[in-house]
C-alpha cells in the first residue's frame, strides 16, 4: 500500500479502524483531540460508532461497557484526562477485560501545559489507578510506529484480556509523517466467551471486579500477577542503535526523546565518542535483560526524558548501581535539543 502523509493523531485513529476497532468513546483535550475529530467522521463511514462522552470518566466507563460485549473499542486522552480514566482502567484490569487507551502526554502536573511531555511514565507504567494491576504500555517514536503499535495494541489486549496503553508525547500526536497501513498479522486469539451478550443458550455471564472474600481476591491478584509475568516473558520490545560496540556512553530514552538522542549519537560519532541508544518500545514490560546486557558494554549511562526523571528510576532499579547513571530532563513542554544532549554527553565522557 502506498504511503500517506498523516498527522500522528489521525493516523492513530485510522490504525484503530485498520485493527478492526469499531467503537470509540472520547472527550476533547489538547493535544489529542484530532483522534476524536477524525473518528467522528471516519467511524460512521465504516459502520462503526463514535460517541462524544460527557467527561473522561464517562468515556472510559463507556469503553468498559462496550468492551464487556466483546467489542474492539478504545478511547484516547491526554494527561489530565487520563487521570480521570484511571478509575475505569483499574476496573477493566480488575475484571479481565481487554481495552485500549491512548495517552498523548502533555506537560503537568495539574492542568500543566499543552506541549509534549513524558511525565506520565509513572502513571502509565506503575499503575495510575488503584490496586495491583498493570497496563501493557507501548511507546512509539514515529508516526509509523504509532500506527503499527496501535494495531498490535488490540491484539495484545485481547490476548491478555487486559488494558493496553499507547503513550506518545504531544509531538507524536501532532507531527505529520508518511505512514503505511500494512496487512494485518493473523494472530490466534482466545474466544470472547466471557462477554455479556445475552445468555441465550448458556449460563449468564457476570463481569465484575468485586471479590468480597479476601482469599478469592488474593487468588485473583495472583492470577493477574501471573499474567504480567507472561507479558514480561513474551512481549518485551526494544530497539538498540549503535550498541554493537564498546560504548563510552549508553543513552536510554523512548518516544520522541529517543529520536533526538539518535541525532546526538551521530554527532558524537564525528568526535570519535562512541555512544549508543537503548530505546524501550514496551515501557511495561520493560526490556530489563536487554538494558542490563547492553549497559555492560558502556562506561556510563545517560537517561534522557521529557520529565524530572521517571523512567530513570527503572533504569536505576535494573542496573543496581553497577554503572554510573546520569540524567537529563526537560519539562513543561520543552523538548531536549540534540545539541543539549550532545554537549552533556561530551562533558560526561570527558569526566
Amino acid at each position: 500500500m502506498a504511503k500517506k502523509l498523516m498527522k500522528g493523531n489521525e493516523a492513530i485513529g485510522e490504525a484503530a479502524i485498520h485493527a478492526g476497532c469499531t467503537h470509540y468513546f472520547g472527550y476533547p483535550i489538547t493535544p489529542q483531540t484530532e483522534i476524536a475529530e477524525y473518528l467522528a467522521k471516519r467511524l460512521p463511514e465504516v459502520g462503526g460508532v463514535f460517541l462524544q462522552a460527557e467527561s473522561e470518566l464517562g468515556a472510559a466507563n463507556m469503553i468498559y461497557g462496550s468492551a464487556c460485549t466483546g467489542t474492539r473499542v478504545f478511547t484516547s486522552s491526554s494527561s489530565p484526562g487520563v487521570s480521570l480514566m484511571a478509575e475505569a482502567m483499574s476496573y477493566i484490569a480488575g475484571s479481565d477485560i481487554p481495552a485500549v487507551f491512548v495517552n498523548i502526554m502533555r506537560a503537568g502536573p495539574g492542568l500543566g501545559g499543552i506541549l509534549p511531555s513524558q511525565a506520565d511514565y509513572f502513571q502509565a507504567v506503575k499503575g495510575g489507578g488503584h490496586g495491583d494491576y498493570r497496563c501493557l504500555v507501548l511507546a512509539p517514536s514515529t508516526v509509523q510506529e504509532a500506527v503499527d503499535l496501535m494495531v498490535d495494541a488490540f491484539d495484545l489486549a485481547d490476548k491478555y484480556r487486559s488494558p493496553v496503553m499507547l503513550v506518545g508525547d504531544g509531538m507524536i500526536g501532532q507531527m505529520m509523517e508518511p505512514v503505511e497501513f500494512k496487512p494485518r498479522k493473523q494472530v490466534a486469539l482466545p474466544p470472547k466467551d466471557w462477554a455479556t451478550t445475552g445468555c441465550k443458550g448458556r449460563k449468564p455471564n457476570v463481569i465484575t471486579s468485586v471479590f468480597m472474600d479476601p482469599e478469592v481476591l488474593h487468588q485473583f491478584n495472583l492470577k493477574l500477577g501471573a499474567k504480567y509475568e507472561e507479558m514480561k516473558k513474551h512481549e518485551v520490545r526494544v530497539e538498540t542503535y549503535k550498541c554493537d560496540r564498546q560504548m563510552d556512553l549508553l543513552l536510554v530514552a523512548y518516544g520522541t526523546t529517543a529520536r533526538i538522542c539518535k541525532t546526538s549519537i551521530d554527532m558524537l560519532d564525528e568526535l570519535g565518542i562512541k555512544a549508543g541508544l537503548l530505546r524501550p518500545i514496551t515501557l511495561f514490560p520493560y526490556p530489563e535483560k536487554e538494558l542490563y546486557a547492553t549497559a555492560k558494554k558502556a562506561s556510563k549511562v545517560l537517561v534522557v526524558e521529557m520529565s524530572m526523571g521517571q523512567m530513570l528510576e527503572d533504569v536505576e532499579r535494573i542496573l543496581k548501581g553497577e554503572k554510573p547513571i546520569e540524567f537529563f530532563g526537560r519539562t513543561g513542554g520543552l523538548i531536549p535539543a540534540p545539541e543539549e544532549v550532545f554537549d552533556l554527553a561530551k562533558k560526561l565522557v570527558k569526566k
Partner: protein, 248 residues
C-alpha cells in the same frame, strides 16, 4: 394442581443479603417478572451499581456487569451502543445515581440512550451504614448529619425525576413507590412500560422507586413504610413526569 405463583426465571435461587424489611427484594422481583413476561431474559444485560445492590448479579439470572460508583449509565451506554439488540438496564441507588453519578445519568438521559434505569431512592446511603444522601429529607438524622439534614448548610434533597424531566430529549420518567400494595402494582406496570419502550427502541426510561431502609432509618419495617408515606411522598410526588411525545 396448577402452579399459580413461582420464582421468576430471571431470579436465581439465592438468598439475598438485603436487610429485613428492605424493599430491594420487591423491586428485584418486579424487574425479573417483567423480563420474564416480555421474554427478554436471554438478551438482557444488567448493570449493577455501587451501593446495597452491588451484588445484584447474584440474584438476577441474566448477563450482568458491575460498574464503578455512579458510572452505570456510562457503562450501559457503552453496552447499548455496541449491541443495540441487547436490552440494557441499570439498577442504581440514590447515592450512586444522584450524587457521584449525577453527570453520567444526566447525559445518558439527555442523549436519549435507549436504556432502562431503575432508580431506588431510600433517602440514605445504605451499604456504608447510613450516611446523608442527596435525597436525604430535611431534618433527617444520618451518621453524617447527626443533628438532622440542615438545608441551610447542604441544600434541599434532589428531586431527580423532576430534574431529568426538564430535559428536552424524549423520555419516560416516572416516580413510584413500593410501600403499599397499590404502589407495588403500579411500579411493576411502570417497569413494564420502561422495558417495552426499550423493546420498541423508543426512548430513555427511568423509574424512580421510593424505597425503605429500616436498618439505617432506625425503624421497624412497618414504621418504615409509614415514614415513606408521611415524609417522602409529600416531597417526592408519585407521578408520571414525562412520556415520549409530551415534550415542551
Amino acid at each position: 394442581m396448577d402452579i399459580v405463583f413461582q420464582r421468576p426465571e430471571t431470579l436465581r435461587e439465592n438468598t439475598t443479603h438485603y436487610c429485613p424489611g428492605c424493599t430491594h427484594g420487591i423491586i428485584h422481583r418486579q424487574v425479573a417478572e417483567v423480563l420474564d413476561e416480555l421474554g427478554l431474559r436471554e438478551r438482557t444485560v444488567g448493570v449493577a451499581p455501587v451501593g446495597c445492590s452491588v451484588l445484584a448479579y447474584n440474584y438476577f439470572n441474566c448477563d450482568f456487569v458491575e460498574a464503578a460508583h455512579g458510572r452505570a449509565p456510562a457503562m450501559a451506554t457503552g453496552i447499548k451502543r455496541s449491541r443495540p439488540d441487547l436490552i440494557v438496564f441499570t439498577y442504581q441507588g440514590d447515592g450512586d445515581l444522584a450524587s457521584i453519578g449525577m453527570g453520567e445519568i444526566v447525559h445518558a438521559a439527555n442523549r436519549g440512550e435507549k436504556i432502562c434505569v431503575i432508580f431506588v431512592n431510600n433517602a440514605i446511603y445504605g451499604m456504608t451504614g447510613g450516611q446523608m444522601a442527596p435525597t436525604t429529607m430535611p431534618g433527617q438524622i444520618t451518621t453524617t448529619s447527626p443533628k438532622g439534614r440542615d438545608v441551610n448548610e447542604v441544600g434541599y434533597p434532589l428531586r431527580m425525576s423532576e430534574l431529568l424531566s426538564s430535559l428536552r430529549t424524549p423520555a419516560f420518567i416516572v416516580r413510584t413507590a413500593v410501600h403499599t400494595p397499590k404502589g407495588m402494582i403500579e411500579t411493576k406496570n411502570y417497569i413494564r412500560e420502561a422495558f417495552q419502550n426499550q423493546v420498541d427502541n423508543k426512548c430513555f426510561s427511568l423509574v424512580e422507586v421510593l424505597s425503605t431502609c429500616p436498618t439505617n432509618w432506625g425503624l421497624n419495617p412497618n414504621k418504615a413504610t409509614e415514614w415513606v408515606e408521611k415524609n417522602m411522598v409529600p416531597y417526592y410526588p408519585l407521578k408520571v413526569f414525562k412520556r415520549p411525545g409530551e415534550e415542551i
